[in-house]
Every structure is written in C-alpha cells, then in structure tokens.
C-alpha cells in the first residue's frame, strides 16, 4: 500500500468537474484508490462519493493506492492531483 497527502489548491475544491475527471482517471487503473478526508473516505472512481467528501480549497486529503501495480499508479495519480486539483 502506498499513500500521499495532498492539499487541494482548486478554488472550489474537489467540485463536480475535477471529481468527474478524477473518477474517470481512477477507473483506468486496476488498483484500489481511496481518498480520505478526516473520518470520511471515498473510492476515487466513485464520483458522487467523492463529491460527498466536500473537499474545499486548502484542505488536505490522504490518497491511498493498493494493488499489484500500486507503484506505477501512485506516480500517475500523484501527477494527476498536481495537474488538476
């Protein structure tokens, strides 16, 4: 299992559009990707649950990647967060 912390810089947070992009991106990988904010977690491939986290600008989430190709997925997802969120 690999994980990283990320502080969201998008002014509206993980709102509909980036959540949609993230869900689409997460579906590309065979590994389980989970986003955690405080006590709440959501699968990165699940759009509604992601939006349900209500992540705002400046808040920090923990992204966990678990699976056979987690090393490669880790790099790709991290790059995705930095580019889009």
């Amino acid at each position: 299992m690999k994980s990283f912390e990320y502080t969201v810089t998008d002014p509206v947070g993980i709102h509909a559009r980036p959540a949609g992009l993230l869900a689409k991106e997460a579906k590309k990988y065979p590994d389980t990707i989970t986003i955690t904010k405080g006590e709440k977690s959501a699968g990165a491939a699940k759009l509604m649950a992601l939006m349900g986290l209500g992540v705002k600008q400046g808040e920090t989430v923990t992204v966990t990647i678990e699976g056979e190709s987690e090393d490669a997925t880790y790099e790709a997802i991290k790059a995705f967060f930095e580019a889009n969120l």
Binding site: V12, G13, H15, A16, R17, A19, G20, A23, K24, G43, A45, K46, L47, M48, A49, M51, G52, G54, K56
Partner: protein, 538 residues
Amino acid sequence: MVQLSGKKIFNGIAIGKIKFYARTENKVTREKIEDTAAEFARYEAARDTAIEQLNELYEKAVATVGEDNAEIFNVHAMMLEDDDYNDSIQNIINTQGVNAEYAVAVTGDNFADMFANMDDDYFKARSADVKDISERVVRVLTGAEDNNEIGDEPVIIVADDLAPSETVQMDKSKLLSFVTQQGSANSHTAILARTMGIPALIGVEIDASWNGKIGIVDGYEGKFIVDPEMEILQGYFKKKEADDEQKKLLLELKGKENVTKSGQKINLYANIGSPNDLGSVLENDAGGIGLFRSEFLYLESSTYPTEEEQFAAYKKVVETMGGRKVIIRTLDIGADKQVDYFDLDKEENPALGFRAIRICLTRPEIFRTQLRALYRASAYGNLAIMYPMIISLEEVQEIKAISKSVREELKAEGIAIGDNVEEGIMIETPAAVIIADELAKEVDFFSVGTNDLTQYTLAIDRQNAKLDRFYNAHHPAILKMLKMIADSAHKAGIWAGICGELGADTELTQYFLEIGMDELSVSPGCILPVRKLVREAE
C-alpha cells in the same frame, strides 16, 4: 402591481411578459415486480438513453454557452455511471421487488439529501444536479415528454427552480430574464444568466397567477415588479434604454486604451465604497481604483474595526484587482459621516470641523491601526495610500513620520510589505491648492476632491437647494485651481488626478486633457462614457 425583492445574480433591466414555468411532476408510484433482473435491465437501457441525451445536450450547450458551462452535462452523464448510484438502484429493485422508476426516484432523493445536508454552498447546490439526472431517467422510463416550450415571444421565465438541463434547452433568443424562488448564486442557472448577460433574480416568492402578465426585472436593485403601473413602466423603459446604451458602449470600448487621437493617454480609474463594488469595477474595465473610501469599515461596525478586519478587506481588493493600482483613502469620518463609537462632539459647522486626517493626527492609535493594515495588504498587490483634508506641509510631514515608523515596525516584526507603496494626498482645500508646489515635493501624487474643494472655494453648501442659482460647478476659480494643481504636480515630477464628481463630467473631459491631468477616477458606470470622449478627443 406587486413588488418583490430577491437576490440579484446579474445586473440589467428586463421588461416583458411573464412565463410561469411549471415542471410537470413525474408522479412515481411504487409497484411490485416479479422479474427483478428484467427490471434492472430496463433501468440500464433507460440510463443509457439518458446518457445519450446528455451527450447531445453537451454538444448543444458547447455551441450556445461554451465548453465550461456545458461541462455540467458531462458530469451528469458520469453521475449516471456512478457505481454507488447504480448499486443503490439495483439493490432497491432486487431486495424490495419494485419497479425501476421507484428505485431511481428513491435513490435520487437519497443522494440529493446527502448533498443538501453538506455545509458548503457549492456542494449543496449539487443536490439539484442529482434530482435532475434522476428525473431524466424516470422520464425515459415512463416515456414522458420534456416540456420546455417557451413560445415565440421573448419572456421572463418565472419558476420555482430550474435545472441546468431545462435552461440549456430554452431558446436563448427568447429569454429576457430568470426569476426563481429556489436556487443559489452557484447554481448553473445563475452561472448561465451571467454567461448570457441577462438579469436574473433568485429567492423571489413566486406566484403562478402571474403567468402572462407584464413583469420588470431590475437586476441592479434586486427588484421584481409584476403588473407595473404605467408611470413605473415608462420609467423602466427609459432606464432600460440607458442600460442598453451602456452595454453597447461596453462591448465597443472594453479593452480599448484611454488615448486621444494625438496619442495623449490618461488613466481612468474607479471610485468605490466597499469591496462589494468590485464586480462593477471589473465589468466596466477600470484601469485601477482611484479612490477606495475606507469609511465603510468604520460605518458598518459597532466598534473600531481591528487591524485584521481591515487587512482582510484591503487585501481582497488589491488581490481582485491583480496588479492594477488601488488607491485607498484613509479614514474620512466626521462632518457628514458620524460614527457613534468615535464619540465626537456635536459641532456647529462639521464641514469645517474635527474630521478626517485631523482625527487621525489627534488619535494616532486609530491611524496606526489603519496604516498597519494598509501596509500589510500592500504585499498582495499594487496599493497606494491617500490622505484626506490636507491644509499644511507640517501635516504631511507628521503623517509621513508616522507611516515611516509603521513600516519600520512591520519590518521589525518580519511582516512583508509592498515595495515603494505610493503615498499621496487629496487636494480638497483652497490652502492645499495654493501651496501645491510645496506639497508636491513631499508626496507621490495628488488627487483632487472636487466636491469639497468646490464647497470650500465657493463657500456654498451643496445640500442647500436655495443656493443652486449661485452654484456653478464649472466656476473659473475651480478650473484655474485644477490647472495650478496639475502644473505643480508635474513640476515636481509627480502625477495628478481627480477623484471627485467633476472627474466624470463629460463636458470637462477635453479641459482635463488640455491641462494634462494624468488620471480621472469616477464611479464605475462612468468609465466607458469618459473613455469614449477621450478616444474622440484630438
């Protein structure tokens, strides 16, 4: 006639027939189903049709409202593909043995509730999206038609709420305005209204009996008038005409330079009274803010505003203006703008009394708090400080000593401040005009407060209507003074501008150019009309 108020979404005036937009409710009944697998398959087919519809809507919306606003339909399509949403529907069909319509409606309501209960306005507004997609699927399942025919005549749409899929399908050339009871400033309808540049109001208590009546939407005042009296209607026709003219100017002149035919340039800045005015500053293409009256901070508060409160307000303004100049005038309380907690004595003649810089120099603790907030905010943009009601060189020297010690204090505390923050003064007393040459050596700019300067020079109280026949805003004394001020400034290598009402007087624009004024700061709505004249001047 009925007059209501609502929250304004976009400035403008709309006059026209009201179309009451009532959504046909898809009454969903709960029915028992034997073959649950077939029922889920029926759902999946309907969902796929709904996704196809959304993809078509997306294409349509890209063409009419642009990619950013159209993106919502992609998100809607993805929401329909969401695992949790689909699992919930399948689960309800399987465990309860019920029809797909019911399973979709219940699931939609549950997810909508989840969003509605979130504490952030943006996410709250997403509740409408979930309802929208669920209703779409139900419509496909029941074979119901969409009902958003507007008709041939342009209308003001009045509705309880509007879903994005409803607004995007409306014929834009027939839309004068939106008025809704529900919705938020972040809703897609609101965003669409802004994109289309049509006035819109939310939070208005609506009534179905208005259908077909004449309505007026005043997006400036947040007013909605139904069935207006003739007089009011005529007034609004005039207002709308002026508004349309202004919008036309805006389109033609936005982004253009303030330059005469022979190449003389002048800065056109905006006067504002609070950060709430920033929208119109940007909308009217101001080159900067020439007068930000800091009084609102003191007038809206029941005690002295703290350094933090002031800092937050100043920072917001300089950040919003990007690198553009923001000139903030220090406290100008007294005279006509009384504040209880300042505990000022009643005066016989407040215009000539204990006010503005005189309070600041008598009670330096108030002044220092404001200066600290200003200098801290200066690190976030292009901020300049302006001191009002100056009459002597000594005052300016005293102010500069205080501001210098504030800067040093902040530096010692390790707090960042902007480089070369300009310090200027208002020229609004005849005394300051006469010694402008000396004052110019001490400061970075002059800004003429023509309202006070005229009143002090002509010895005329503007509030006294009896004196109107003696009052002349273009009095030669004032015009000569303006030239003296500009000349003194330029001789000392500093710039001069006007931030009083006279700056927006288009009869004088030519004269201001002739005497070489470097800047005019006017209310936001006056910027483009003045720009027009500047560009027409030789």
